[in-house]
C-alpha cells in the first residue's frame, strides 16, 4: 500500500497552489514605498578601453536621481572566486579583480560600466542612452582556444595571461597513466566540445535594496539560491557592510539552475544606490540582460583517451580540457571544472589509472559557472562518449563493455584514482532495470519499423555517477574551498503544536515546502499540514549554504533530522515530567509519549503546549520552550548513479533528430517523495536533451553573442521531448547521512546528453555512415553535414 503521508508518500506540492494561481511573491512583485529604478549601461564590445564616461547629460534628464560609474566603486572590494586552485607547478591561480562596475576596461559584451537611478524604469533607460561614452574597441578573445594562442589579446592587462590555472588531477597519477596508455593494446581517442549554455531561468534576475538611515539597516530582496552566501560575499568582500546590518531575502525564485547561486554586481549597485538616495532602488533584468550577463554553463574543449585491453577491460583514462571561465571568475567558476569534474573522471568504472589536465581560460565572454550538473555532465559526457566509441572499435556491445568494467557491489566503499570514495552502488542492478523499463530487447524490431518508414533509428546507452551534497567542510577546505559546506535547520514548535522549520536550503522549484515536512511529520508522528517551512530570509533562518549541487535534502534535510531528534529528546524530558516518570521509561511512537508498561501517555501537541505554559517546571532542570537548531556537516559526498537509454529516429533527408523513447533508471538511495523525484528527473532530462539537440550559446570571433535571444537560442519545447520511462526502485541508501538519501536534482541533466548523442551516432552507423562523433547541439544541419561529409 503506498503511503499517503510521511516519508515515501507523494502528496501534491503545496507550493504549487500559490504558483499556479498567480499568488507567488517574486522579487519583482515586491514594491516598496518611494522606490526608484536602476538601469545599466552595458558594453556592446567584447574588449574595450574606457576613455571616458560623461554623465552630465544623463544627470540632467527628467527623473534622474543619480548616475554611478566604475569610478564610484574603485574603493570597495571585488567579488571573489569561492575556490582557490593551484596550478600543477604550484603557482596560485590568476585572480583578476571583479569590480561592481567596470572601470578602465570593459571585458565582455554586457559588462556594465555605469548605472542610472531614476523615478521610473523608462526614465532610467532614457538616461542610459544619454550617457556620453568613449570606449576604444580592442581585439578580443571569445574562445578558450583563441585566448591561449600565441600573441592573443589580454582580457586583464594586470595578470598578463589569459591562463587562469593549469591543473593536474591527480598529478601523482600522471606518469603511471602516461605509461599505461603507451603500453596499452588499444587506445580510443575522442575530441569533443561540451557546448556552452545559457541558463534561462524563467524569472530573470532582480534585486531591490532598501536602506533605513535611522538604523543603518539594509535589506536586499534578490533572486538568490543562497541568501546567506550572498550576504557574506557582500558584507565580507564587496561592500564591507556589517553582517548584522544587512538582511538578504530571496522570496519566491522562479528557477535558478545554478545561475542564481552567485553574487552579482547589480546587487551591490542597488544597495549603494539605496544608501546614497535614502530610497529603495529596484532593478529587474530584461531577457537580453539575462542572456548577456547571467553566468553561463559548460564550454569545455576536451581530448579524452581511453586505453583498454582488447577484451574491453579499461586500463587508463587521460583527459586534457580547456575550460572557458569567461571574463571574470564567478564565485564557483574555479571549483566546477576542477573538483566537480576532474574527481568524477573514473565514472562508474574500476579503472586503475586516471589523469585529468584542465586549463581554465579567461576570455572576453560572460562569466561561466555552475549550471545544472556543474562539471559532472562534462565528465560524464567525455567518459560515456569515449566508451561508446571504444566499444564500436572493439566490436563489443555498449552495455556489455560497461558491465564488464563496473565497480561491483562488493567493492564498496570504493576509492577511485581521482580522490573520491564512493559509499554504495549497484550499477548492474540499475542497468538491469534500464533494460527492463526501456524494453531494450525490443529495439531491433523498432529499428526495423523505423527503417520501413524511411527513417534510421539508433539506441544510445549511458551510465553515470555524480557527486552530490558537496561536502565535507574539512575536506573541501583542504581542496581549496573558501567556505564551509554544511547546512542548518531550526525546528520551532509552537505552543499549539504547529511547527515552523527554518532551513538554510532555498527552494526555487525543488519542492522543499512539501518534502521537508514529510520528513518531520514522519519523525514526530504528526500531520504534515501542521508544519511550515521557512526559507530564504537571513533574518529568520540559521546560516545555511543554500541550494545547488543536489544538496538540499542530503545536507539540509539531514540538519532537519538532527534538529528534530533534539526536539524529540527535549519533548521526552517534558513528557517524563508531565507523567512523573523517568525519562528512560518514556517511549515515543506515532506522536504519543507513553510510559512503558503503563497506560499513561501524552500527545506531542500536549507536550508542546506544556513547553510554553511551564507553570510547574523545575526551573533548574527543565527549560521552557521547544525549539532546536542543528548544523549538519556530512562525512562525504553522496553518489547517485543511473543508466539511461535513448532511442532516436533520424530523418535521412534533413538530418532532423526526434527522440522516440527515453528511459532513465536511477539509484537515488531512499526516496522521500517519489512524485517530486520524478519531476526533478523529467526536468533534468529536458535540460539534457536541450543541451544535446537544441541549445548552443555562440559568440563570434569578436565576442559578439550571436545567440542572444530566443530567436536564435533554442530552448526545448514540450513537443521536442518524449514521454519518459523513469524508475528509481534500485536503492542503495547513502551510508553516511541519516536519511540515506543521495540527491536527484541534477541527474537527468548529467545522464541524458551522452545517451542522446550515442543514439544519433548509432543511428548513422546503422545507415552505413562512418560518423564517430558530432558536437552538440545536434541540430539538423550538423547531423546532415555529418551524414554527407
Amino acid at each position: 500500500m503506498p503511503k499517503d503521508s510521511g516519508i515515501g508518500a507523494s502528496p501534491k506540492r503545496r507550493e504549487d497552489v500559490r504558483f499556479l494561481t498567480g499568488n507567488g511573491n517574486y522579487t519583482d512583485d515586491i514594491n516598496l514605498h518611494g522606490q526608484a529604478y536602476a538601469a545599466f549601461a552595458r558594453s556592446n564590445v567584447a574588449n574595450g578601453k574606457i576613455n571616458s564616461v560623461d554623465t552630465s547629460a544623463a544627470e540632467a534628464m527628467p527623473g534622474v536621481l543619480a548616475v554611478f560609474t566604475g569610478e564610484d566603486f574603485v574603493e570597495v572590494g571585488g567579488n571573489p572566486a569561492g575556490w582557490y586552485i593551484e596550478s600543477r607547478d604550484g603557482t596560485p591561480m590568476k585572480e583578476p579583480k571583479r569590480p561592481v562596475l567596470a572601470h578602465g576596461k570593459v571585458r565582455h559584451v554586457g559588462d556594465a560600466y555605469a548605472a542610472v537611478i531614476a523615478e521610473t524604469y523608462e526614465q532610467a533607460r532614457d538616461a542610459v542612452e544619454a550617457l556620453e561614452v568613449d570606449i576604444d574597441e580592442l581585439p578580443a578573445v571569445a574562445s578558450s582556444v583563441a585566448a591561449l594562442a600565441e600573441g592573443a589579446p589580454l582580457v586583464h592587462d594586470e595578470i598578463e595571461t589569459n591562463l587562469c590555472f593549469d591543473w593536474g588531477w591527480i598529478e601523482d597519477n600522471r606518469a603511471a597513466t602516461d605509461e599505461a596508455i603507451k603500453n596499452a593494446p588499444h587506445v580510443t581517442t575522442l575530441e569533443l566540445v561540451n557546448n556552452r549554455l545559457v541558463p534561462n531561468a524563467m524569472e530573470p534576475r532582480a534585486s531591490t535594496a532598501n536602506y533605513n538611515p535611522g538604523t543603518g539597516d539594509y535589506t536586499l530582496y534578490t533572486t538568490s539560491q543562497n541568501p546567506h552566501l550572498t550576504r557574506l560575499l557582500i558584507c565580507a568582500f564587496v561592500m564591507g557592510i556589517p553582517e548584522n546590518k544587512l538582511t538578504v531575502i530571496a522570496p519566491d525564485v522562479g528557477g535558478g539552475f545554478g545561475s542564481k547561486i552567485y553574487h552579482y554586481g547589480e546587487e551591490a549597485l542597488v544597495l549603494a544606490a539605496a544608501k546614497k538616495l535614502g530610497r529603495p532602488v529596484k532593478w529587474t533584468a530584461d531577457r537580453s540582460e539575462s542572456f548577456l550577463t547571467d553566468a553561463h554553463g559548460r564550454d569545455h574543449v576536451t581530448t579524452i583517451e581511453l586505453a583498454t585491453e582488447t577484451d574491453g577491460t579499461f586500463i587508463a583514462i587521460r583527459t586534457s580540457t580547456l575550460a572557458n571561465v569567461g571574463a571574470y571568475l564567478s564565485n564557483f567558476s574555479t571549483c566546477v571544472p576542477t573538483f566537480l569534474h576532474g574527481t568524477l573522471m573514473a565514472g562508474n568504472y574500476a579503472v586503475p589509472n586516471v589523469y585529468v589536465n584542465l586549463k581554465a581560460v579567461i576570455t572576453n565572454t560572460a562569466p561561466v559557472d555552475a549550471y545544472r550538473g556543474a562539471g559532472r555532465p562534462e565528465a560524464t559526457y567525455s567518459i560515456e562518449r569515449v566508451i561508446d566509441k571504444c566499444a564500436r572499435e572493439l566490436g563489443i556491445d555498449p552495455i556489455a563493455i560497461r558491465r564488464k568494467n563496473f565497480i561491483k557491489p562488493d567493492q564498496f566503499p570504493y576509492t577511485t584514482p581521482v580522490g573520491l570514495q564512493y559509499d554504495t552502488g549497484d550499477y548492474d542492478a540499475v542497468m538491469d532495470k534500464l533494460e527492463e523499463i526501456g524494453d531494450l530487447a525490443g529495439f531491433p524490431a523498432r529499428r526495423a519499423e523505423s527503417e520501413a518508414n524511411g527513417k534510421i533509428r539508433g539506441l544510445g546507452i549511458n551510465s553515470y555517477i555524480e557527486a552530490c551534497g558537496i561536502a565535507p567542510s574539512n575536506l573541501v577546505g583542504v581542496l581549496g574551498a573558501r567556505v564551509g559546506l554544511y547546512d542548518a535547520a531550526t525546528v520551532r514548535v509552537n505552543a499549539t503544536g504547529t511547527l515552523a522549520v527554518m532551513v538554510g536550503a532555498h527552494s526555487h522549484g525543488q519542492g522543499h515546502e512539501t518534502a521537508f515536512p514529510q520528513v518531520v511529520a514522519e519523525m514526530l508522528g504528526i500531520d504534515e499540514g501542521l508544519i511550515e517551512i521557512v526559507h530564504g530570509d537571513t533574518s529568520k533562518i540559521p546560516f545555511g549554504m543554500g541550494t545547488y549541487g543536489s544538496r538540499s535534502l542530503a545536507v539540509c534535510g539531514s540538519a532537519v533530522v538532527r534538529a528534530t531528534e533534539k526536539i524529540i529528546k527535549k519533548a521526552t524530558k517534558i513528557a517524563a515530567h508531565m507523567m512523573e516518570a523517568s525519562e528512560a521509561d518514556i517511549e515515543f511512537k506515532d506522536g504519543q509519549f507513553s510510559v512503558t508498561g503503563t497506560d499513561k501517555s501524552v500527545a506531542f501537541g500536549e507536550v508542546a503546549f506544556k513547553a510554553y505554559v511551564p507553570h510547574d517546571f523545575p526551573a533548574e532542570e527543565l527549560e521552557p520552550g521547544l525549539e532546536e537548531t542543528a548544523f549538519y556537516d556530512p562525512a562525504n559526498f553522496t553518489y547517485p548513479a543511473g543508466a539511461y537509454a535513448c532511442e532516436v529516429e533520424v530523418d535521412p533527408d534533413t538530418g532532423k533528430v526526434s527522440i522516440e523513447r527515453f528511459s532513465a533508471a536511477d539509484d537515488f538511495g531512499n526516496i522521500i517523495n517519489p512524485m517530486i523525484v520524478d519531476g526533478q528527473v523529467h526536468g533534468g532530462i529536458g535540460q539534457g536533451i536541450g543541451q544535446a539537440l537544441l541549445e548552443g550559446c555562440v559568440y563570434d570571433e569578436d565576442g559578439q553573442l550571436l545567440s542572444a535571444s530566443y530567436m536564435d537560442y533554442a530552448m526545448p519545447r514540450a513537443d521536442d521531448l518524449p514521454f519518459y520511462a523513469v524508475d528509481h526502485s534500485c536503492q542503495t541508501p547513502c551510508t553516511h547521512n541519516p536519511l540515506g538519501v543521495k540527491g536527484c536534482g541534477e541527474a537527468g541533466a548529467i545522464g541524458s546528453p551522452p545517451a542522446v548523442v550515442n543514439a544519433v551516432v548509432d543511428a548513422l552507423q546503422s545507415a552505413g555512415k562512418d560518423v564517430t562523433h558530432i558536437d552538440m547541439p545536434l541540430s539538423p544541419g550538423r547531423v546532415w553535414a555529418a551524414m554527407n561529409g
Partner: protein, 261 residues
Amino acid sequence: MYNFEYEKPSSVVDAVAALASDEAQALGGGQTLIPTMKQRLASPAKLVSLSGVAEMQGVSADGGLLTVGGAVTHAEVAAQASAYPALARMAGRIGDPAVRNRGTIGGSLANNDPSADYPAAALASAATVVTNAREIAADDFFQGMFDTALDEGEIITSVKFAVPQAASYQKFVQPASRFALVGVFVAKHADGVRVAVTGASEEGVFRWGEAEAALSADFAADAIAGLSLDPSGMIGDLHGTKEYRAHLVGVMTKRAVAAAT
C-alpha cells in the same frame, strides 16, 4: 519603449489620413512592431491601429478567388479559408496561438521577413496585394529582405489569392524561432506550377524557376530529382549553412509536391 500616440480609425480613409502625420506607422497585430519598439529599435511617434477598420476584415471565396482582408489574423485564416486548404494549414502553423490571434496577413506581407510564411503563399498563389491606392501583383510586391513595393503610408487592405488546383506548403522550422529555416509553397495552377521559397535566400522570398518548369511538365516529386539550387545566394547562419539550405529547398519542394491536394 518610447512614448507614442495611438489612434484607432474605423475606415481606410481615416487610417490613411492618420498615417500622413509625421513618423506615424501602421499597427497590425503588433507581433513584429511591438517587440521592436520594446527593444527601443523603433520609435514611431504615432501608431495607427488597423484592427478597427471594418473594410479590412473578413475572408471570402468567390469562384477561383479567395479574398482576405488586410487586418485578418492568422487564426481567422486558419479557421475560415476552407476554400484554400493549403493556405489555411499554413496560417494555422505560424508561430504560437498568441501570435496567430494577433498577427495579421497585412502586417506579415508588409514586413516581408525573409523567413515569414505568407510571402511564399502569396507568391506561389499569384496573389494580388490590394492597397488603399492600387493593386500590386505578388511578383512585383516583394523586393528583397524586409522590402516591398509599398509606398510610405500605403496600407494593405486585402489580398486576393488565386486558388490553385493543388497546393502544399512544407515548412522546415528553425529550432529556436520556429520561423521557416526553409519553407516551400508549391501551387499547381491551370497555367502552370509556381514554387515559392522562403527562409533560404539572402534576397528574401523567391520563385524557383527551374523547378516550376520541371513540375509544369510533370507534376511529380521525381520530376525535380536532378535539380539543385546554387548555394551561393543562400543564407548561412548558426542554424544552417548555405549548402544545407539549398539542399532543404529540394527536399521540401519534393515533399510539397507529394503532399499537394
